[in-house]
């Protein structure tokens, strides 16, 4: 099953190689050395890195405050920090533009994307912090180390993998994003790919460009694994969480967090509510309900299917660690930064070549979601799996349990919060997904996202707003659940809070 998942994930790469082979290496090289290409790659990379850094700072701060501080209202902020995930980047971008017509360019894109992806880092880092036992910190402090020293030498190395993994998700997300940057008028590499499809109908040229993006992804992945460091396996699950007493910093931090929530949530939601009120009389409720139903069905099936495969891959990669399994894990990420349209066309191509019967069925749409979101699910499951010690497995095996039983009774329960998190994350992302759903759905099937798109494409913003609002509200549930899955780890730890 793990092998199957990995193979499916590599389909887009296969498609791109086939297309590039059709048009020859010359086209690829010609594109590669064009000045405009270099400019666009630079733009994309600059945006991705700056957003990743900002998101890491915001997310880590929010995680620290939520898990390890005594800030008043931290439970509320903890929920608010995860919620921006429910807002698609194109919706957020549009709502800002609707309020501030001059809002555009690099900094506008940076703002919208940082606010939108910070939750990814926040969730990863909170999960790591929740599992990090602070007794070692206390020992270090009692031996005379300063607060800062303890942080850099002990705490940071333990949460660094999570922060960087969140940063990786962010970077790849920004590289593949098209909706927000096109509305905010910032030229990125993804635009070049879309334009190649839309303007010249040259699938081969577009594929060559997408292949360049895959190369950039490989570089980013290499960078991440070099700086990630190794996961420290703790011998016990965290049962003490040291609390930082914030003292005089309380008020500024409260204000800061409130500001972040305002920018990330209040602006888009307020804008949508305003437009919805304008458009309410003309809303076609039948269409809304049918779209809602389809969105829910696809999201839940997509979430379950992808998580299932992610568990299989995670178990292979984490528990049976080898050079091959590390390679397998990386390969799942290879095409994560390619725009959704590439994945969609990949499946159109392969389905029509190999299995025409499944083309334009819900089944193929679910496979698309698997290809698109397996990396996200994998990241959510692999992290807690990695942090649980292998010694537990060995003890269980020594007590006579078979490999399968060890999996079932030791590994699975430890991975369970990760599995819930992964399912919630995929459900969330599927709800927002647009390009693959548009191309692969059965003719006549609409989701909230596709309806939203079709209304905005004719500038019918008041008609689009109810769909956008419903989408955000619906996606709020898994976002909230995701947060809870992480905080569940904290419940036991809470009892031991100093």
């Amino acid at each position: 099953m793990a092998a199957g998942a990995v193979l499916i994930s590599l389909l887009p790469l296969g498609y791109l190689l086939i297309r590039v082979a059709s048009s020859g290496l010359e086209t690829l090289l010609d594109l590669l050395f064009r000045e405009r290409t270099a400019e666009l790659v630079l733009n994309s990379v600059a945006l991705a890195l700056s957003v990743a850094l900002t998101a890491m700072m915001i997310g880590s701060l929010q995680a620290w405050i939520a898990v390890r501080s005594n800030l008043p209202g931290r439970k509320v902020f903890a929920v608010l920090a995860a919620l921006p995930l429910a807002i698609p980047s194109y919706v957020a971008a549009y709502s800002w533009l609707a309020l501030f017509p001059f809002f555009s360019g690099f900094w506008a894109s940076w703002l919208v994307l940082s606010l939108g992806t910070a939750p990814l880092v926040y969730l990863a880092v909170s999960a790591a912090l929740a599992r990090f036992d602070s007794s070692t910190e206390e020992v270090a402090r009692s031996l005379g180390s300063g607060k800062l020293q303890v942080f850099f030498k002990l705490t940071w190395p333990n949460i660094r993998p999570a922060a960087l993994s969140g940063g990786l998700l962010t970077t790849l997300y920004v590289l593949s994003d098209f909706g927000a940057v096109s509305i905010l008028r910032f030229d990125t590499f993804t635009r070049a790919i879309y334009n190649a499809y839309r303007a010249s109908f040259d699938r081969n040229q577009a594929a060559s460009l997408a292949l360049i993006l895959v190369a950039v992804t490989v570089l980013v992945l290499l960078l991440e694994s070099k700086t990630r460091g190794r996961y420290r396996q703790s011998d016990v699950i965290a049962n003490r969480l040291g609390i930082s007493l914030l003292g005089g910093f309380k008020l500024p931090l409260v204000l800061l967090l409130a500001l972040l929530a305002l920018l990330a949530l209040a602006v888009p939601v307020g804008s949508l509510v305003g437009w919805s009120i304008v458009g309410l009389p003309q809303t076609n409720w039948e269409m809304v309900l049918s779209a809602l139903g389809n969105s829910i069905v696809l999201a839940i099936s997509g979430g379950m299917l992808t998580s299932l495969f992610a568990v299989a891959v995670a178990v292979v990669v984490v528990r049976y660690r080898s050079a091959l399994s590390a390679l397998l894990e990386k390969s799942v990420w290879l095409t994560h930064a390619t725009p959704g349209i590439v994945v969609a066309l990949t499946l159109v191509f392969f389905a029509n070549q190999l299995a025409p019967a499944i083309y334009q069925t819900m089944f193929l749409v679910l496979i698309a979601y698997l290809v698109l979101f397996l990396p996200n699910a994998l990241a959510a499951i692999a992290t807690p799996l990695r942090q649980s010690p292998k010694s537990l497995d060995e003890v269980a095996a020594s007590l006579g349990l078979s490999k399968l039983q060890v999996l079932r009774r030791v590994v699975f329960p430890i991975a369970l919060p990760g599995i819930f998190a992964a399912t919630a994350l995929v459900i969330l992302t599927v709800l927002k997904e647009l390009p693959a759903t548009l191309l692969l759905r059965p003719t006549g099937v609409e989701t909230l996202a596709t309806r939203l798109w079709s209304e905005t494409s004719v500038a019918a913003f008041s008609a689009a707003a109810p769909y956008a609002l419903l989408l955000v509200v619906l996606a709020g549930f898994p976002a909230w659940l995701l947060n809870r899955a992480i905080r569940k780890d904290l419940v036991a730890a809470d009892l031991e809070r100093v």
Binding site: A199, F201, L345
Partner: protein, 331 residues
């Protein structure tokens, strides 16, 4: 429930749903599949009228014209669509070039002027879309008489264009074909200095309405669409044409092509060229009827626009235009 049983249950469920879901799409004899680059909001009612009149069910797949065309090309020998309703001629040209379009009968093609149909009889224009200048009357006191006037440095930062939009590209193609490649290169270089770039025509219109820019090059019906939403009296901007004969007055088209031999598909194409559908375009989308019906009030009649005569679907020509736009750094 232990996890082995759970696993088996899940596997069974997945398999069952897979089987169920694949069997979902069935086509009755009296139905056609349309891939439409024209949006649902614009044409859903039109398609319902067709079904009501003829009893033929229409399964529509709405999407972006170019993405649908690409999808059709990628479907290869397994094309699902009977009809392709395109928002611009370039996509029709791409499909014609790939050889997937069926021949249309003479009498159908003959309903429109020659510049609005395929030279190979593979597609026909259904409605016309005029390139216009939308402007803010408070900021633009003397209207440009030619698109060339926009090259003047006084327009820097005031004019909006959408270089990735098919209609804009068709316009630049017209400049290239009629006035020469150098004219096109000069124009694009000037736009690189002067123009503010937008992703879509609708965003240009909004920017003019909000005062972000003073004028923009768009298609005429966007203005009418917004006027319907906001009320004509609340519109800040106005429309203007360039002097008669100017290349800036290019008229684009939305067109239809057939991908299968289904007689119902041909009936649909005929219906689109018929009086009720043509009137629909005039009334609901404010576009030009290509079969000669009078346009909506306030629009210059089609015959008076003197649109430059070029083959809008010549994709090879479009490719050259794209090169120029890319070289100018606008794409």
């Amino acid at each position: 429930m232990n996890s082995r049983k759970l696993g088996q249950l899940l596997a069974a469920l997945t398999l069952a749903s897979a089987v169920a879901l694949t069997g979902c799409s069935s086509q009755s004899d009296q139905s056609i599949t349309v891939y439409s680059g024209r949006s649902e909001a614009l044409i859903a009612d039109l398609l319902e009228s067709f079904s009501a009149e003829t009893g033929v069910e229409v399964q529509v797949r709405y999407g972006d014209t170019a993405e649908l065309a690409t999808q059709i090309l990628e479907e290869g020998s397994n094309i699902r669509a009977d009809v392709f309703f395109s928002q611009d001629a370039g996509a029709l040209g791409a499909l014609a070039k790939a050889g997937v379009l069926k021949q249309l009968p003479e009498d159908l093609i003959g309903l429109v002027p020659s510049e609005f149909r395929s030279t190979q009889q593979t597609w026909v224009g259904v409605s016309g879309r005029a390139r216009v200048l939308v402007f803010n009357p408070e900021k633009v006191l003397t209207l440009p008489q030619s698109y060339k006037d926009l090259m003047d440095p006084s327009w820097q930062g005031r004019i909006g264009i959408s270089p990735n939009n098919a209609s804009f590209q068709a316009f630049v193609t017209a400049v290239r074909v009629i006035e020469g490649e150098q004219a096109a290169i000069d124009f694009l270089a000037a736009m690189k200095k002067n123009a503010v770039l937008f992703e879509k025509n609708s965003l240009i219109l909004e920017a003019v309405e909000n005062g972000v820019i003073d004028a923009g090059l768009i298609n005429h019906y966007y203005w009418y669409e917004l006027a319907k939403q906001k009320g004509t009296e609340n519109m800040v901007s106005k429309l203007s044409w360039f002097a008669s004969g100017d290349v800036g007055n290019l008229v684009n088209l939305a067109g239809v092509a057939l991908l299968s031999d289904d007689p119902n598909a041909l009936a649909f194409a005929r219906w689109l060229m018929g009086p009720s559908a043509q009137q629909y375009f005039v009334n609901n989308t404010s576009e030009y009827s290509l079969t000669g019906l009078p346009p909506v009030a306030g629009l210059i009649p089609l015959a008076e626009i003197k649109s430059p005569k070029i083959d809008l679907s010549d994709l090879d020509s479009l490719a050259i235009t794209l090169e120029l736009i890319q070289k100018a750094g606008l794409l």
